[in-house]
């Protein structure tokens, strides 16, 4: 198939940036979206033009490094799918596809489709852990964890930190990302001692980074590649309120 791509090009954080149109031919339906961009970049390079910069690494949907807004939707229209796992069989010949970076003030653009997501690391630094130095752990079977709690904690822990939730949110909120970690650790017995302080510190850091507040729009969970549910945010809010009393 042949496609028209409209791609955001921005040469550094200070550049204003603009959409640039490219044609790509002979796209195979079995290609991944990123492989289609590889083909474009190969061609641009040989033509002496600057290839399009984009982040990617594992290309199997788990590292969370890739992410672009495709036709207005973070990671594209395919549900529960990262950009690298989106395949060209979901497009058709003659389509025009717009490709933009995550847009949010706490995710400044570095170049083209590459953004700086270090704000996410700082939210984890604020409290997204259980304080247990190496070697200090009791036997793994000393504290049984009910299967339901372990499964629910796992579901929240599958967040890959890609930032699609922020890109999709009209408020640019990082609530789903933050809540996923608060939920994961807050559901386990090991996470109880720091549960309240963790929620408070992480929410405060999220605010300090300039992320917006949650108004229960639900765009975040709709684009989340791992399907983190919206009720994680309710749990985070409850823990935050308890900590703030």
């Amino acid at each position: 198939m042949n496609l028209t791509l409209k791609i955001w090009r921005q040469n550094g954080p200070e550049d204003r940036g603009r959409m640039v149109t490219y044609q790509v031919e002979d796209v195979s339906p079995d290609m991944s979206f990123l492989e289609m961009l590889d083909v474009l970049n190969e061609r641009l390079t040989l033509a002496g033009e600057e290839p399009v910069a984009f982040d990617h690494d594992c290309r199997e949907g788990i590292c969370g490094m890739c992410g672009m807004v495709i036709n207005g939707v973070a990671h594209g229209e395919q549900r529960a799918t990262t950009t690298c796992q989106l395949h060209m069989r979901h497009f058709k010949d003659g389509d025009t596809v717009t490709i933009e970076p995550w847009r949010a003030a706490p995710f400044p653009v570095i170049k083209d489709l590459v953004v700086d997501r270090s704000s996410f690391d700082r939210i984890i630094q604020a409290g997204g852990f259980i304080s247990v130095p190496t070697g200090a752990a009791p036997d793994a079977h000393s504290v049984p964890v009910p299967k339901d709690a372990a499964d629910a904690a796992f579901d929240a822990a599958t967040c890959i930190g890609c930032g699609a939730c922020v890109a999709a949110c009209p408020n640019g909120s990082a609530s789903l990302f933050t809540a996923a970690k608060v939920t994961h650790l807050g559901l386990l017995p090991q996470g109880q001692p720091e549960r309240a302080s963790r929620a408070k510190a992480m929410v405060e850091q999220m605010d300090a980074e300039g992320f917006g507040g949650c108004t229960n729009t639900g765009e975040c969970t709709a684009v989340c590649p791992k399907g983190i549910p919206l009720d994680a945010i309710a749990r985070m809010n409850a823990d935050y309120l308890k900590a703030s009393k």
Binding site: D30, A53, E60, I62, M65, A140
Partner: protein
């Protein structure tokens, strides 16, 4: 980079080496002895000592976090935008530990035995025993950190069996065990960043090692956002930069995985051990076209319930559902009745290659075999299968557009892991004092073949438990290290800058990716699942020619300043070229078959790998010299596990 063509496959033999750090005595006491003999650093002095850790996967992340907790001044580096992205995150199946929670006969000794045997008697007994010992601590640590392992209704941890073992000792978190363990290490690391003990440098790539007065004292890195070349000095350097499977271009590694950090260290004097030991994983999604940028693994845990088969008849092109039972060949169950579909990876991979070579492969190009869940679905119900493997089935469907609940998966082997790596002693210290190497980047524990669910175990054993002790012992002598020689720093920086300018100046007609693809093809065809003297000599002719062309015809766009992904890739490909040659030399010199290294000349009547223990029971540690590689042999002794020909029949 040298344009001099040496004679094909030439090497010299140097003095033998020994692992001088492994204590003597009963194997179960050796690690305790070493821990006790290791010198300690006074807490007030730890703050004044700097340790650099390159890479933030399971080994590097856990090492940096633990060293930070101990009070050292740690600098951690990764090329990704966050330490959480390291490729350990993609490990699916699980992590082994000798907990014996099943009561099915497991023990530290059995895990040790299985690992030595699985490694085809090419690993060190002392190291492997220690690995099995600390495996139990890893599970405790991970659970305390909040890693949500799978549990049973009673609230206790669940286990499953895995290839190469007859006990259930694998702990797992659905099909995302690596992700959950890495996030545990990442969170511990970020906790130390917040505490001020670890300074994190993301989007920084190590391009050179600084060796001063014979000791590793720092690294040269490129800030991948600004393009600035920076030097960072330290009292010890830890490389945790992962494996080099991407030398084959197509592999299950992440796109960014590369050999540059360990290859640069090798060029500065660190021995490279057993580079030819590569693991080809039997259950990957087959290649679909020339544009293919990577291969995707389907966890080996699928072999617990999936049955591997091909049509009995050559060229049978009926859809799988129309092939009756008696016209199918469940070849693993047929050839290996004791282990069946759970034989180790190297054996399963080669068996798949053999049936495809016979013309019985399925799917496009005949390069695939079926992995069929019909029996499991009939026995357990679709829901139970979905619970166990749901995310893997989804991933398969997303990539291939086929539904594995209705038709069997098609799988084919792909490069997955490299057992070889920088040579280290029992302390995980390389042949350069002060340079430590952990995780997949070293060679130490898996011999010629790694068992499933053992990579996560080794990465975390090294990072959480072994390295913090042994680095401390080394740093206790830091008072005598002296100032870093400024000339050594300047030379390292000059080498980096010179290479970057050279790459940008060529301005040829082919992209670095196109060279990489061609190199990968050479390696897969001539140094892949099956190697012969002839194929390896051919590779050793082709690689220098292609490398020469690369340096005369590569096109790297852009500037040295700022984000330049094409430049990053070109630099890595340049190092892959040099490594590829060493891999072929190693594969050529080792004229026996063992584990993942199968030399067609060395097989028994049934086509199984035939070791030559009289000649080759050693670690091949290669020294880099301008006149070609020099081989140093480390003899391997087996006191506890009797060397036998592996049999899974």
């Amino acid at each position: 980079m040298s344009g001099i063509l040496r004679r094909v496959g030439e090497w010299r033999v140097g003095a033998p080496i020994a692992d001088t750090r492994a204590p003597e005595g009963p194997i179960e006491e050796r690690w305790d002895k070493r821990r006790f003999s290791a010198k300690l650093v006074n807490p007030a002095n730890k703050r004044k000592l700097t340790v650099i850790v390159v890479g933030t996967g399971l080994a590097g992340g856990s090492a940096a976090a633990t060293l930070g907790e101990l009070g050292y001044n740690v600098k951690s580096f990764c090329y990704q935008d966050s330490p959480r992205r390291a490729h350990s995150i993609a490990a699916q199946g699980g992590i082994n530990a000798a907990k014996n929670y099943r009561g099915d006969g497991d023990s530290v000794f059995r895990l040790f035995y299985d690992t030595v045997k699985g490694g085809d008697f090419r690993s060190r007994e002392s190291n492997v025993y220690r690995l099995a010992q600390v495996s139990v601590n890893i599970i405790d640590q991970a659970v305390a950190q909040g890693v949500p392992f799978a549990r049973e209704y009673g609230g206790l941890l669940d286990n499953r069996s895995f290839g190469g073992a007859q006990v259930s000792r694998t702990f797992y978190a659905r099909g995302q065990t690596g992700q959950q363990l890495l996030l545990g290490a990442y969170q511990a690391l970020e906790r130390q960043v917040a505490a001020g003990t670890v300074e994190m440098h993301t989007r920084h790539e190590m391009l050179e090692l600084i060796v001063s007065d014979g000791r590793a004292r720092g690294i040269v890195v490129r800030d991948m956002v600004t393009g600035e070349i920076e030097t960072h000095l330290a009292d010890a350097v830890v490389l945790a930069s992962g494996g080099y499977g991407n030398v084959f271009y197509l592999s299950t590694n992440a796109k960014g995985c590369n050999t540059t950090a360990i290859w640069r260290a090798h060029r500065r004097g660190a021995y490279f051990a057993n580079p030819c030991y590569t693991q080809i994983h039997p259950t990957c999604i087959p290649v679909s076209g020339d544009y293919q940028s990577k291969l995707t693994l389907m966890s080996e845990s699928l072999r617990n319930d999936g049955r591997v088969w091909v049509p009995l008849r050559k060229g049978d092109e009926r859809p799988p559902a129309q092939i009756p039972e008696d016209e199918r060949d469940y070849y693993l169950e047929r050839i290996y009745p004791a282990f069946g579909n759970l034989v180790p990876r190297d054996i399963a991979s080669r068996a798949a290659k053999n049936v495809c070579d016979e013309g019985r492969g399925v799917g496009p190009g005949g390069l695939g075999v079926y992995l069929d869940f019909a029996d499991a679905i009939a026995r357990l119900g679709r829901e139970a299968v979905e619970k166990k493997y749901g995310n893997l089935f989804e991933m398969y469907e997303r990539i291939t557009g086929e539904n594995p609940y209705e038709a069997p998966m098609r799988i084919y082997p792909a490069v997955h892991y490299t057992m070889g790596g920088l040579w280290v002693d029992y302390d995980l210290q390389s042949s350069i004092p002060g340079l430590f190497v952990v995780g997949e980047a070293n060679f130490s524990d898996h011999g010629a073949n790694r068992l499933g669910a053992s990579a996560l175990m080794q990465g975390l054993a090294d990072g959480y438990f072994v390295l913090p002790t042994t680095v401390g012992d080394y740093l206790a002598g830091a008072g005598t290290f002296g100032q870093v020689d400024q000339d050594a720093v300047d030379e390292a920086v000059d080498r980096v800058k010179e290479k970057i300018s050279r790459l940008l100046a060529v301005n040829g007609t082919r992209t670095a990716d196109s060279f990489h693809r061609e190199l990968g093809r050479i390696m897969w065809d001539y140094c892949g699942m099956e190697r012969t003297e002839e194929s390896l000599r051919k590779a050793l002719e082709r690689i220098p020619e292609l490398r020469e062309e690369f340096w005369n015809n590569v096109k790297v766009p852009g500037d040295p300043e700022g984000l330049n992904q094409a430049l990053e890739r070109a630099g890595r490909v340049a190092d892959f070229f040099e490594l590829a040659e060493l891999m072929c030399v190693d594969a050529l010199h080792r004229s026996e078959s063992c584990g993942g290294h199968f030399r067609a000349e060395s097989q028994d009547a049934d086509g199984e790998a035939l070791r030559d223990d009289d000649e080759f029971a050693y670690v091949a540690a290669w020294e880099w010299t301008p006149d070609g590689p020099v081989l140093h042999k480390e003899e391997l002794d087996y006191e506890y596990v009797k060397m036998t020909q592996r049999s899974y029949k």
